[in-house]
């Protein structure tokens, strides 16, 4: 089933067109990645989907056009964004951050179970559950941001540059977790600059160049595409 599809989506920032009419879709249970250089419009696309940027065109989520809806409404429909630069609540403890992720829910038992699940996924966070998020390392904050996003039991998880600014060993760990979550059936749209890791983890991929989709297809195929290899894999 098609969970999300973008039809001719455009985003303007002032007079500048950051996204110039793109089409893409995500099937239920799929991990799709969006790769491209800095300023290609990847983050803007995610912002458009989550309602943080005003978008033209149609954004169909489970067949319903959600373009123009407010961010909190979209979050309540089950689309959860892990923002670029993590966006954890720095003065709140890890436990409080996770609880905040379940803001829209009221089933106490279910929330407690999901906190346990987040701690199984990220044992590091369990050790530091009462520590404030601001004291965590970048990688741990990224784990917390993902764990917090999962607390809302999203139907679609939007990940914005999860590897940004992290040490290589942390990047590997984050991608392990992304694979694990994907294998559990969570649908994900991943935006990454680290094209190789993203393509290796994804099923399908879109290549974005100055606001337009220039290539798309099976991730495995794109990994061997000479154009992609030259432009994004540094070969």
């Amino acid at each position: 089933m098609r969970l999300l599809s973008l039809e001719k989506v455009e985003v303007h920032y002032g007079g500048i067109r950051a996204v110039k009419g793109i089409d893409l879709h995500v099937e239920e249970g799929e991990l799709v990645c969006l790769i491209g250089a800095n300023g290609a419009g990847k983050t803007t696309t995610l912002r458009a989907i989550s309602g943080l940027a005003h978008a033209g065109g149609r954004i169909l989520y489970r067949g319903e056009d959600i373009a123009g809806r407010r961010p909190h409404e979209i979050a309540r429909l089950g689309i959860s964004l892990v923002p670029e630069g993590r966006g954890v609540f720095p003065q709140l403890t890890i436990e409080e951050n996770l609880a905040m992720g379940a803001y829209t829910r009221s089933d106490r038992a279910g929330i407690a179970a999901d906190v346990d699940r987040a701690f199984t996924l990220f044992p590091r966070l369990k050790e530091r559950r009462r520590q404030t998020a601001g004291t965590l390392s970048g990688g741990e904050q990224q784990m917390l941001a993902i764990g917090r996003a999962l607390m809302s039991r999203p139907k679609l998880l939007l990940l914005d540059e999860p590897s940004m600014g992290l040490a290589p060993i942390m990047v590997d760990r984050i991608f392990e977790v992304i694979r694990l979550i994907a294998s559990e059936g969570v649908t994900m749209l991943l935006v990454e600059q680290n094209a190789r890791l993203a393509l290796e983890a994804s099923r399908r991929a879109y290549v974005l160049e100055s606001g337009l989709v220039t290539l798309s297809g099976e991730a495995a195929g794109l990994l061997h595409d000479p154009q992609v290899r030259q432009a994004y894999l540094g070969e």
């Binding site: 909190h72 979050a75 954890v88 803001y103 404030t132 601001g134």
Partner: protein, 368 residues
């Protein structure tokens, strides 16, 4: 610290503590009356400031929105009461009707201030709210023409006192040999009101609304991603803070019997903010303490500075008002140096200052 938490853990001791505090507060005016009945009146004004600080704490402490014009809502509440219960318009509605109206009108003004400032934070928000406070005061000063709404700088006099089942709060009530002064009656009235407001605040802090404010204060974008309607929550903070201010203003009118725009100048806004910050932003008990201290200490100084000088030098060298402000300023600077998060900081603020020191270490951790 350990003993306090141990005390809290035992519900019997907790209740015993509450009963003790209640008894002390009920007996307080009689103890104060020994020092002079003026002190009961000062206590009443202190309670009004505690009410105001608790209202401002919702906006500043809970939601993290800096408001420098908060006294405007106090003014709105005070004028609503004055206009509806004085000879100015010949209206004499009862207090229980006016206080909710005052709260509602102040709430409306809160939304009026909140709506255009939704996208502003920090310094920018502070400037706009400061302007708002001044606009309200200037309006009150000038709305005597063409239609005399506020009576301008002359203010409104002979405002009705609170009347409760025929008991007039402005005069002495005699029950047998026992005389209950007006100030004393207001004291109990305000005390009851304070208890209600504190309970409402405590419940609010633990509620979903309180958590939403916390998220907004920490990171507004992330709060939105959590499904929090940040627009509505910020407006709610302004509206609730303003309502509490409006109620306090109404009581001020009733107690004073006379109000004029002079009571609602910028200094008052700053004073209420100082109470919140000094006590500990976001901590309800801290705010209560901060407001009580900043209300009482200047008064104590007012009564002690001159006699002390006379005793030491035989005459008054420095004007009491000057030395009072000097000591007051020194006390504030001292507090901020030694307890920067306030006297009783909220748990989160305490962490904020602690993490500030650990930030440098944290950056190293990222690089490895």
């Amino acid at each position: 610290m350990g003993t306090i938490s141990a005390l809290r853990a035992d519900p019997r001791l907790k209740w015993a503590g509450i009963v003790l505090v209640a008894a002390a507060l009920l007996a307080l005016p009689f103890a104060l009356a020994v020092a002079g009945t003026a002190w009961v009146r000062i206590t009443n004004l202190a309670i009004l400031f505690i009410l105001l600080s608790l209202g401002l704490n919702i906006v500043v402490g809970f939601a993290g929105l800096l408001d420098l014009g908060y006294i405007a809502f106090y003014a709105v509440g005070a004028y609503v009461y004055a206009l509806l219960a004085s000879p100015h318009f010949g209206l004499h509605l009862p207090w229980w009707a006016i206080l909710p109206i005052g709260a509602a009108v102040a709430c409306t003004f809160g939304v009026i201030l909140g709506t255009p400032t939704l996208k502003l934070r920090g310094d920018y928000l502070a400037i706009v709210t400061l302007g708002f406070g001044e606009i309200i005061r200037i309006f009150l000063n000038n709305l005597s023409e063409p239609f005399n709404l506020t009576n301008g700088p002359k203010g409104i006099a002979t405002i009705d006192p609170v009347r409760f089942f025929g008991v007039d709060f402005s005069t002495v009530t005699r029950i047998g040999d026992f005389a209950l002064s007006g100030t004393l009656k207001y004291y109990y009235f305000l005390l009851a009101m304070l208890v209600v407001v504190i309970v409402v605040n405590l419940r609010l802090q633990d509620s979903r609304i309180g958590r939403a404010w916390e998220a907004i204060r920490e990171d507004e974008l992330a709060a939105r991603a959590m499904g929090i309607n940040t627009t509505r929550m910020k407006l709610l903070a302004f509206a609730m803070g303003a309502s509490f201010g409006g109620i306090a203003g109404g009581m001020f009118s009733a107690i004073q019997g006379f109000i004029s725009p002079e009571s609602f100048i910028l200094t008052e806004s700053v004073m209420v903010l100082a109470m919140v910050v000094l006590g500990g932003m976001g901590n309800i008990w801290g705010v209560v303490l901060g407001a009580a201290l900043l209300s009482f200490v200047p008064e104590i100084l007012r009564y002690t500075v001159e006699p002390v000088q006379r005793a030491l030098f035989g005459r008054s060298l420095v004007d009491p008002e000057v030395i009072r402000m000097l000591l007051f300023g020194l006390a504030m600077v001292g507090m901020m140096l030694f307890r920067p998060a306030g006297l009783l900081p909220s748990a989160v603020r305490k962490r904020e200052l602690a993490t500030g020191r650990e930030d440098a270490q944290d950056d190293d951790g990222d690089a490895t």
